[in-house]
Structure formats: C-alpha cells, structure tokens
Symmetry: C2
Subunit: 174 residues, 2 copies
DNA sequence: CGATTTATGTCAGCGATGTTGACATAAATC
DNA sequence: GATTTATGTCAACATCGCTGACATAAATCG
C-alpha cells in the first residue's frame, strides 16, 4: 500500500466525486440486459425466418467489415471454437452468402468475402439495428454517445479492450 | 411536415450537431457486442463449474431483486416461455437456491424467494460483474455514466423502455 | 529432403437455452 | 357449475456453444 497521506474524508481526484452506489451498479447490470436484448431483437426476428441465428449475423457482420479476413482471424474476433464457427460458416458458404478464396501469399488460408447476396442479407439484418442506434444516438445527444462509448470500452478487460480497439481501428482505416 | 423554414445547411436543434455517421453506428454495434461479452464473462465462468448457465443467473438476479415475484411476473421480465423458465427454475428449487411459497391472496400463485444459499450464490455471480461496472463507472466518470444510461435506455423500444423503467423503479422503491 | 508446424475442415457427442404444441391441476371468478 | 387464470409438465426440435479426435494440404524448419 502507498503512504496514506489522503484525509479520511473522500476527495478522490479533483472534486469530491460521489462513488457509484450499489443501486447504480444493479441498475447498470439491468440496463445491459434490457438494452442488449432490445438491440438484438430486430435481427433475431429476421433470422428466425430462415434457419439462421445470431451467430450467422455476427459472422456476416465481421466478414463484411473486414473482407478477406481469414478463418483464424474470424475465430479470434468471435472467440468461439473452430467447430462452432464451421457450423455457422458452412451453410453461409453453401447458400452463396459467403465466398472463400485461397490466399495468394499463404495458400493454406481461406479468405472470406461476402457475395452480393451476402452483403444484401447482412444489410437487411443490420439496417434495423443501425436505425435503432441512430435514433438512440440522436435522442441521447453527442455527449451521451461519448459517455456510452467510454463506459462500454471501460467494461472490457485490458486485453479485450485492446482486441476490440485494434479491430475497430483496423476496420476504420480501410 | 412543418413549414421548412430551416436553411439547407444542417442546423438541427440549437447548434449544428453533426449527425452520427455510418462508421459511428457500426462502431456502436461492435461496442454492444464486445461490451456485452466482457460483461457476461465472469459469471459465465463461475456458472460453468456447476450445471448452470446464464439463464440461471438471470432468474436468481431478478428473484433477488424482487423477492416474492410470481412465476408470471418473472416470465414477463425475462421474456421467455413458461417451459424455458421451468427448466431453469426447477433445478434452482430442487437444489435449494430458490423457495416457492403459495400466495396468500391468490393461492394459485407461487411466489419466489431466494434462500440464504441462493442469495450467497447470486452474490458470488454478481460480485465480479458489479466490480467490473464499478471500475468502468469510476474510470469513465459520472457524466459518461449518465450518457451510458441515456443511450442504453434510448436503444429500447417504447414498450421495452416502459417495462424496464417500471421494473427498475419498482425495485428501487423497495 | 524429410519432419514438424500451421491453417483449415470434419465427425461424433454433449449441454444449455430457447421454441411450439398439448395436456393436467388447482384455485379464482363469472 | 362453467370458465378463466396460474402453474406445471411431457415431448420434440433448433441454435449455439463445448470437447476430443482425426484428416489434409501447405508452409516452414533442420
């Protein structure tokens, strides 16, 4: 422990910022639950029409965001096993939504791309989700959006944060 | 539509607030994915020790938050079918984590309570999650937390928002 | 060049979580 | 007394994770 030079009355950094109460933390947990459920509701409904699920949407999203990603790269982002991904990826390839091309540098790699049909379906899934975010961002205002971003990032562990940031920056740079 | 007195250059409400770009919306979607995954990682690991899953945690959380809730009330919050809930609730009752008491006013109702053991297990699950939120809230600061709350609430549809608010307020009033 | 490692695919089985449909029981209500 | 409500339960099914094991082709190492 460092030398306890701080006074007993709380004065954490600059002004005396009240620490989050237990009730605020519980509310935060519930906001995560309710918010995430709302966020996934639209695409879930569309996916249910066919024999696809949330995992198919995720694969389509990340392939669309980073065309030419390898299978290993996608595994890394999604954080699932090869066998889990295969069950999702195979139907997408079979149904002509995702195309696999052999890598030029390394011919063991299968680089993943969306077909036109895949792109169209991905957009159909993401459009209501983006519309929801757009409405929410407008409604809440830019400062709130900054706060949202800060908190969501801070929720992640250092390594997860690094991965997420690296990924999102990489996609931004394209 | 109201009379279009506004100039063509964008000046939406007070100051010219730039609308969220498509990249910001995509980033938002990814923050939801990565953030939620991080948020559920700790309890998921603890749950995996026994034969429980995320659904058991949710049931324990909401029963703990609203002791004496009826089965129908819990179904409403969780938004799952009776059969789905039964598969989660039965083991919790069998293992002595949840207690069912016959309602006094309406004896058809089974009111749900956590046992001491149930409360202890729920806390074991929620503690790392709350610690994560506490760290995130401290790190991001109070204004960011307000923004986070605003955005997460705005992501919900009106009816979902109403349900979530009614629920969270009700629990607060206890 | 031969051995090893890497990238990917695949088979088999299991567990958790959701679904629909159907039926049963007890208690409240009309 | 008939109907509705609250709950429980059985059966079947799909998605989405997991582990373990094995196969193949291409790259790399010694």
């Amino acid at each position: 422990m460092p030398a306890p030079t701080a006074p007993l009355t709380l004065a954490s950094e600059d002004e005396a910022t009240a620490p989050p109460t237990d009730a605020m933390l519980r509310e935060g947990a519930e906001l995560m639950f309710f918010g995430y459920r709302s966020f996934t509701r639209d695409p879930d409904q569309i996916l249910a029409e066919r024999d696809y699920g949330r995992a198919h949407h995720r694969a389509l999203h990340f392939i669309g965001r980073q065309p030419g990603i390898s299978v290993a790269g996608l595994l890394d982002i999604l954080g699932v096993t090869k066998q889990s991904l295969a069950r999702v990826l195979k139907p997408l390839v079979d149904h002509g939504l995702v195309e696999q091309r052999v890598g030029t540098n390394d011919r063991r790699k299968r680089l993943l791309f969306l077909t036109d049909e895949g792109r169209a379906f991905e957009e159909r899934l993401s459009d209501p989700q983006r519309a929801r975010l757009l409405r929410a961002f407008r409604e809440a205002g830019p400062e709130a959006v900054d706060g949202f971003r800060l908190v969501m990032t801070a929720i992640m562990d250092a390594d997860e944060r690094k991965q997420a940031n690296a990924y999102m920056d990489g996609a931004k740079a394209r």
